[in-house]
């Protein structure tokens, strides 16, 4: 029964987002497109952090690997959108495999530091190769290059409605993937590793291999978000590889609810609108943001979706 309920809820969320394409004013539709892509980033982060209990401070590198993998191949090699997206995914996945393999030898605080260091290396590398990346200033992908070929037609991703739908499609795929994953035996094993690693080992699980798989899938999802960001918004800059973009997904996930499927989307959306609304009224908008965060921690200590699950809807995945 709970399975059916949760499936309906997720379908309803996707349908609502679909309808919003036609209802939202242009400005808000733009924000939603961006939020959906970044929410995918947060979902990838949530898999490692929320479900597996791996507090990484370096996930910006996976997002940026996707961003640069897609952006550089388009800008310098003239690749079309599909192979460029593939390059982004591959870059992020390989990076996650290597970084995961090394960083997972550590746990806890050491893991945070090691992931942070790797991300810094990645960030500095993007600055070092300024000739190709143009560093902080970044690259703007030519509009003509950003068209998505589908059987029978070609769509320009610069068109707001197409962009919204492409972002929604990505969100739907990833949300579905995460939902299947966390309800599968493998997802149960990840949660159990978070809860009690030693017990899992003595139940015959290869903890390291399971964690590594979690980091790689997490990196793949984050890279998908990064690659999509490059082709949808046409901007590729090293700001996305900076520490700020490692902290943001952590914040979004904590706000929305760690280890919930919908939490990352809720958290990202919420954060965007607090900043957007507050900055309309005052230049000291960060003060308002901070206040809102404190209130949230007080009344929703497990994040929005996490607290809703704890108090009212225990079947939420």
């Amino acid at each position: 029964m709970t399975n059916v309920k949760s499936l309906w809820l997720h379908a309803a969320v996707i349908l609502l987002l679909f309808a919003l394409n036609f209802l939202l004013p242009e400005y808000h539709r733009g924000i939603f497109s961006r939020v959906m892509v970044l929410a995918v980033f947060a979902m990838g982060y949530n898999l490692a952090f929320g479900y597996t209990g791996l507090l990484s401070l370096g996930h910006a590198m996976f997002f940026a690997a996707g961003l640069y993998g897609a952006g550089l191949t388009i800008y310098h090699l003239g690749w079309s959108v599909w192979p460029a997206l593939g390059a982004g995914l591959l870059a992020g996945t390989l990076l996650a495999l290597v970084v995961g393999f090394l960083a997972l030898r550590t746990t806890g605080v050491a893991f945070m530091i090691v992931t942070l260091m790797f991300a810094q290396v990645f960030y500095l590398t993007t600055l070092y190769f300024t000739t190709y990346t143009r560093g902080e200033e970044g690259l703007v992908l030519p509009q003509a290059m950003r068209s998505l070929a589908l059987p029978g037609a070609s769509f320009s991703l610069t068109d707001p409605a197409t962009r919204y739908m492409a972002a929604l499609a990505l969100l739907t795929i990833v949300l579905g993937l995460v939902l299947i994953l966390v309800r599968s035996p493998y997802g149960r094993a990840l949660i159990a590793i978070r809860e009690n690693e030693e017990r899992m080992r003595m139940l015959g699980y290869d903890v390291f291999a399971n964690k590594l798989a979690s980091v790689v899938i997490s990196g793949l999802i984050c890279a998908a978000a990064g690659a999509a960001y490059a082709v949808l918004f046409g901007y590729v800059g090293s700001g996305f590889a900076s520490i700020q973009y490692s902290i943001l997904p952590l914040l979004w996930v904590l706000l929305g609810g760690a280890a919930t499927t919908l939490g990352p989307l809720i958290g990202t959306l919420f954060m965007f609108y607090i900043i957007d609304t507050a900055s309309d009224y005052t230049t000291a908008y960060l003060l308002v943001v901070g206040l809102a965060l404190i209130l949230l921690i007080l009344y929703f200590p497990k994040g929005i979706a996490g607290t809703v699950r704890e108090r009212w809807l225990p079947w939420l995945p």
């Binding site: 809860e195 139940l203 015959g204």
Partner: protein
């Protein structure tokens, strides 16, 4: 008389922690199907010895052979999959998960390894509930494991061990902290388990040991002091001196 290959044997198994020799040169053999108890005073090296067997710690020297295969260098998770299950002396369950999820994690592991089976929801449900029914926890399946009474948490440990379908089940002081009534049903449970698996039991409660064990191994200061039937051990002078402080 043909020598039957034991399910588990160790040769010259030793482990020291710094200067402390916790386990020294232990030669041990356990035939398949037996319920064996290991007793000995605190600090005798019982837990260290079974930890070496199940791979939670690696030996300083010596070998562990399980089912004819040298597993001395195998990591713990591979030994579990070879059929050695260990239940913790200090209760170690997934407190935030449901009781059912706790056993399902164990059942899932063994289903993943079984070529004929697959960890479908139905197979997990069947195997998980079977382990819970054996231990009398079926009514609590949907409860959060951390909310169980202490005695039930101990039973859940055993249920997880059972759901692994092990060939050798190691129980490290399973009755610690249980009430007399709980201990009685526990003895019945272990006897039941003993029909399908070999059991290695560390236990301080002598009534439990005498009721269950077919043979007893006595450890003292990291060595095996004596081994024999419960009657022999009861009559052994050296054991009385070491263990009963006589």
């Amino acid at each position: 008389m043909a020598a039957v290959t034991p399910l588990l044997s160790t040769r010259g198994l030793s482990r020291s922690f710094g200067g402390l020799k916790a386990v020294r040169e232990v030669d041990f053999a356990l035939p398949e199907g037996q319920i064996r108890a290991i007793i000995g005073p605190n600090g005798a090296g019982k837990t260290t010895f079974v930890s070496l067997v199940c791979g939670r710690i690696l030996p300083s020297s010596g070998t562990v052979v399980f089912d004819g295969r040298d597993v001395s260098r195998l990591p713990a998770h591979k030994r579990v999959r070879a059929g050695i299950a260990y239940t913790f002396q200090i209760t170690s369950i997934f407190s935030n998960l449901t009781v059912f999820d706790n056993v399902a994690l164990a059942a899932q592991r063994h289903l993943l390894d079984d070529r004929q089976a697959r960890p479908t929801a139905r197979a997990l449900e069947e195997e998980g509930m079977a382990a819970l029914e054996k231990t009398g926890l079926a009514d609590f399946a949907e409860k959060r494991a951390g909310n169980l009474a202490y005695g039930h948490q101990r039973l859940l440990e055993v249920a997880m061990g059972l759901a692994l379908k092990p060939r050798l089940l190691i129980l490290d002081e399973p009755t610690q902290g249980l009430s007399d009534g709980e201990i009685d049903s526990f003895v019945a449970l272990v006897r039941e388990i003993g029909r399908e698996a070999t059991v290695l039991l560390i236990e301080h409660n002598m009534d439990v040991v005498m009721a269950l064990a077919e043979r007893i191994t006595v450890m003292d200061q990291g060595r095996i002091l004596a081994e024999g039937t419960p009657e022999e051990i009861r009559a052994d002078k050296a054991v009385q001196q070491a263990y009963l402080g006589g």
